[in-house]
Structures are given as structure tokens and as C-alpha cells.
């Protein structure tokens, strides 16, 4: 049995399981409702898109982390059953990851994308594409982080607490520390270090990469200009995407290693 065939089987089975769990449907419906409302009452223009960006950056990491952690605890029986079968652990891990990340990504992309297609209401398909793309990447990143947490932490409660902690760290605390650093080193040229700091946190990276797709960023003076120069063009978008992909791959590799070494 080739490892990819086994991976596919595990993924398909988990996919079916996750899709049936109604959580993902609720997740998709949540985004669909928000997006629909923003199109209806916000006109689907740049301001509505920006509101959507805020919501995506808030919800996707949080939900993916919490859902992803509990997903693995819920799948524990399944994992033990599968691991007793003649398959490689790597294939099981890959299948688990896809079984989590694919339905979440699809739910998110459909939830955000379908209302736009339905209303036919945007002059900003490039921005919508960037939003969906970055949202999917964030899903891939935080699915990996969630698996890493759930594999390393035996206890479900501890795992969920760690997941929420990780979210707080990346979505809130990190930026607070950055701001603190900015005020401490106010006398130094900070554009480049700050850019590095943004690249080092997937939530910030996603936020900056998305903001640069919007007119707003063009209106932010010197800092906006520096950001645009580095991350604004096609090369910059590639850099941002590359960094996000790296952000997905690194925890995924760590999680795969932890999964391979773990005792069940």
C-alpha cells in the first residue's frame, strides 16, 4: 500500500467525519452570513471588504486552533484504530492534517466566496482572492499549530487552554510587545525590524499582506510606503505568501515528528 493512498484514505475518512460534525457547516454559514450582511448593508466595496478582513483575522486563527485541538482529541480512537493497521504513521498524520485543514479551508472559502458570487457584488475580485487565499493559508498554519498542541498535550483541557493561549499570544500579546519595543527603541530606525517582526507572526503577516491590497495602505505615509515597497508588489506578495507557507510547514514538521514519536 503506497503511503499516499493510505494518507488519502485516512484524510477522506476524517473529512467525511469532520464535514458531518456540523461544526464546519456552522463555520461556513457564519462567514456566509457575515459576508452577506456586509455586501447587503456595506455595499461590498472597500470598506466592507476591510471589515471582512478584520473578522477573518480574528475568527480564522481562533476557531482553527480550538476546533483543531479538540478535533485530534475526538479522533483519538480513530487514530488508535488506524495505527493498528498496516499503515505508516506519517500517512496517518498527513491524513489527519488534511482531514482537518481541507474542510476548514473549504468551509471558510465557500462562506466568504459564495455570497460574493451570489450577489455578483464586488469590483474587488483581486482583494477577495487575496482575502480567501490568505484566510486559507491561515487555516493551514493554525491547523498545523493545533495538531502540534494536541499531540504534545495529552489532556484535552490542557490542550484547549494551550490553543487559546497560543491564539492570545499571536493575535494580541505579540503586538503589545511589538508596541512596547517600538516605544523603547523609538530613537532608532524601526521600519525594517518591524517588518521582520510582522513576518515572524502569521497573524500580523496576514494582516499586513491583506491591508496592502487595499487603498488604505496607500494613504499611510512613509511607513505605508516602506511596507508597500517591501510587501506591496507581486514580489512582496510572494514573500508574504512564502513566509506564511513556511509558517504552515514549520509547525507541521514539528507536529509530524511529535506524532511519529508519540506513544498511543
Amino acid at each position: 500500500m503506497s503511503r499516499f493512498a493510505a494518507l488519502g484514505r485516512v484524510a477522506r475518512c476524517q473529512l467525511r467525519d469532520v464535514a458531518r460534525s456540523r461544526w464546519v457547516i456552522a463555520y461556513a454559514l457564519f462567514f456566509a452570513a457575515i459576508t452577506d450582511a456586509l455586501i447587503r448593508f456595506g455595499g461590498g466595496g472597500e470598506r466592507a471588504m476591510l471589515s471582512l478582513v478584520d473578522i477573518v483575522l480574528f475568527v480564522v486563527p481562533l476557531v482553527t486552533l480550538v476546533f483543531g485541538t479538540t478535533y485530534l482529541y475526538n479522533a483519538r480512537e480513530f487514530v488508535e484504530l488506524i495505527l493498528a493497521q498496516p499503515v505508516r504513521r506519517g500517512a496517518v498524520f498527513g491524513g489527519l492534517y488534511l482531514g482537518l485543514a481541507v474542510p476548514l479551508s473549504l468551509g471558510f472559502a465557500a462562506g466568504v466566496g459564495l455570497p460574493f458570487l451570489f450577489h455578483g457584488a464586488t469590483d474587488a475580485y483581486a482583494q477577495l482572492g487575496a482575502l480567501v487565499g490568505v484566510g486559507v493559508l491561515l487555516t493551514l498554519v493554525f491547523s498545523a499549530v493545533a495538531l502540534l498542541i494536541a499531540i504534545r498535550a495529552d489532556d484535552r483541557l490542557r490542550g484547549v487552554a494551550l490553543a487559546i493561549g497560543a491564539w492570545l499570544l499571536m493575535a494580541v500579546v505579540y503586538d503589545g510587545l511589538v508596541l512596547l519595543a517600538v516605544s523603547l527603541f523609538a530613537d532608532y530606525p524601526l521600519e525594517r525590524p518591524l517588518l521582520a517582526a510582522m513576518l515572524a507572526n502569521p497573524v500580523d503577516l496576514a494582516r499586513v499582506a491583506l491591508l496592502l491590497r487595499f487603498d488604505t495602505a496607500a494613504l499611510l505615509g512613509y511607513t505605508g510606503a516602506v511596507l508597500r515597497q517591501v510587501l506591496g508588489g507581486p514580489a512582496g506578495m510572494l514573500l508574504a505568501l512564502g513566509a506564511l507557507v513556511l509558517w504552515a510547514v514549520a509547525p507541521l514538521a514539528l507536529a509530524a515528528r511529535a506524532f511519529a514519536r508519540r506513544d498511543f
Binding site: M1, R20, N74, E77, E80, L83, V87
Partner: protein, 236 residues
């Protein structure tokens, strides 16, 4: 034939298996017995590759267990508690494990039929009773005519009729020359089934050999008393 040599495992500071040696011979049923937390489950899980041994070697017919897990294709495992993905139906579960094997695997549905499980297969596993789940669990272990059977408390939760069906089946497997490892708290059951006994305390084998030898050595008439004798001596 399964050989375990010097298998050790610690969880944190607790040494669960300590340089354990054990042979499981084909055509014989080996009962692994011992007090709670003696390391029985860990032993089984190491055999299946679910737990990584810290040291030691396990061979299946002279060859080390394959790193890619393919050896597990020859092992039928019935875990103590049947824990299944809740949203799957029994049929999907069977299809899934079938699909994870070399194509096309030898599928032996006779135990499914013997249990009369067919009508239950369309149900999601979470809606099945504990007994029915245990039947699915047993059928799963025997589904691919494995060379090695690992049965962890196989009759727990089964009604007497099903329990009888399963035990008959285990004896049939022995007759076919399979290697069988079994654990159970029900000594009468082991008395009925086991050819060999491995007595495990604190991660070490204290006795390994034919049941008759154990009885002779402890001068007890039945297995239960023989084991009890060992345990008391161990505690002293």
C-alpha cells in the same frame, strides 16, 4: 512466531517493561496474565507499534517488525475497549480498514455472519450497544485472516452466546496454526483457551511456559489457583 528480546519501556520515571523476553509460538495460545499495571497493555501496544520501546527487539518469524508498519498487516488486534470514530457506520469502518491493506486483501466475514451483525452495519457506531461494538471489534480483528491474533480482554461485554462463538473461533484459529496472544481477567476462560502462560509483574516475566508446567510447579489443580499462588508468592 513472535520473539521479544530485552524489551524495555519507561513512562517518565515509571519502568513499565524491564528487559522483557517472551516467545509466542504458532499454533498455541499464550495468555499474558498479571496484576493491574503489570505492563500487559504496554506489551501489546509495543507489539503493535503504538508504543515505541526504549530498548529491545521484536521479531516476527525471525524478521524485525517493519518500520513502515506493514507487519501489522499480519496481526489482528482486538483492543480492550472498542473505541471507534463515532460518526462512521460499522460498514464504513470495515471498508476503511479494508482499504488500508494491500489490494485485494483476503477478507474473512465469517465472524460477522456468526454474530449476525449484518443488520447493524448501516448504523453509526455511536448508536450501537457496548456488546455489539465489542462484536464489531472482534470481527475487525479477524477480518483479514491474520497470522497473529492479539486479543485484549476479548470477551468483556459479550453475552454468553457471543462469547462462546468467539472462543470457538479462537480455538479454530489455533488449529490453523495461528499465533495467539490473549489477556483476560477471567481465569476460567484462559483455562479453556490457553496453552502457554506468561506471568508478568512490574514489567518482568516471572513465569513463562505451558499451563501444565505452571500447574505442576505450583501444585495447583487449575489455572486460577496457580496464578493466585504466584501472586501471593510475589507479594511475600
Amino acid at each position: 512466531m513472535i520473539e521479544m528480546r530485552g524489551v524495555s519501556k519507561s513512562f517518565g520515571r515509571v519502568r513499565v517493561l524491564d528487559a522483557l523476553d517472551l516467545s509466542l509460538r504458532p499454533g498455541r495460545i499464550t495468555a499474558v496474565v498479571g496484576p493491574n499495571a503489570a505492563g500487559k497493555t504496554t506489551l501489546i501496544r509495543i507489539l503493535l507499534g503504538l508504543v515505541h520501546a526504549d530498548a529491545g527487539e521484536i521479531t516476527l518469524d525471525g524478521a524485525p517488525l517493519a518500520a513502515d508498519g506493514s507487519s501489522r498487516g499480519r496481526i489482528g488486534y482486538m483492543p480492550q475497549i472498542a473505541r471507534f470514530p463515532e460518526n462512521l457506520t460499522a460498514r464504513e469502518l470495515l471498508e476503511l480498514v479494508t482499504s488500508l491493506r494491500e489490494n485485494p486483501p483476503v477478507v474473512d466475514r465469517s465472524l460477522l455472519d456468526a454474530f449476525g451483525l449484518e443488520p447493524e452495519l448501516a448504523q453509526p457506531l455511536r448508536t450501537l450497544s457496548g456488546g455489539t461494538r465489542q462484536k464489531v471489534n472482534a470481527a475487525l480483528a479477524l477480518l483479514f485472516a491474520p497470522d497473529v491474533l492479539v486479543l485484549d480482554e476479548p470477551t468483556a461485554g459479550l453475552d454468553p452466546v457471543s462469547s462462546g462463538i468467539l472462543k470457538d473461533r479462537i480455538l479454530e484459529e489455533r488449529a490453523r496454526g495461528r499465533t495467539v496472544l490473549i489477556t483476560s481477567h477471567i481465569m476460567s476462560e484462559l483455562e479453556e483457551l490457553a496453552d502457554d502462560v506468561a506471568f508478568l509483574v512490574d514489567g518482568r516475566i516471572r513465569f513463562a511456559g505451558p499451563v501444565a508446567e505452571l500447574k505442576a510447579r505450583t501444585r495447583q489443580a487449575n489455572l486460577e489457583r496457580a496464578i493466585a499462588h504466584l501472586m501471593i508468592r510475589e507479594a511475600a
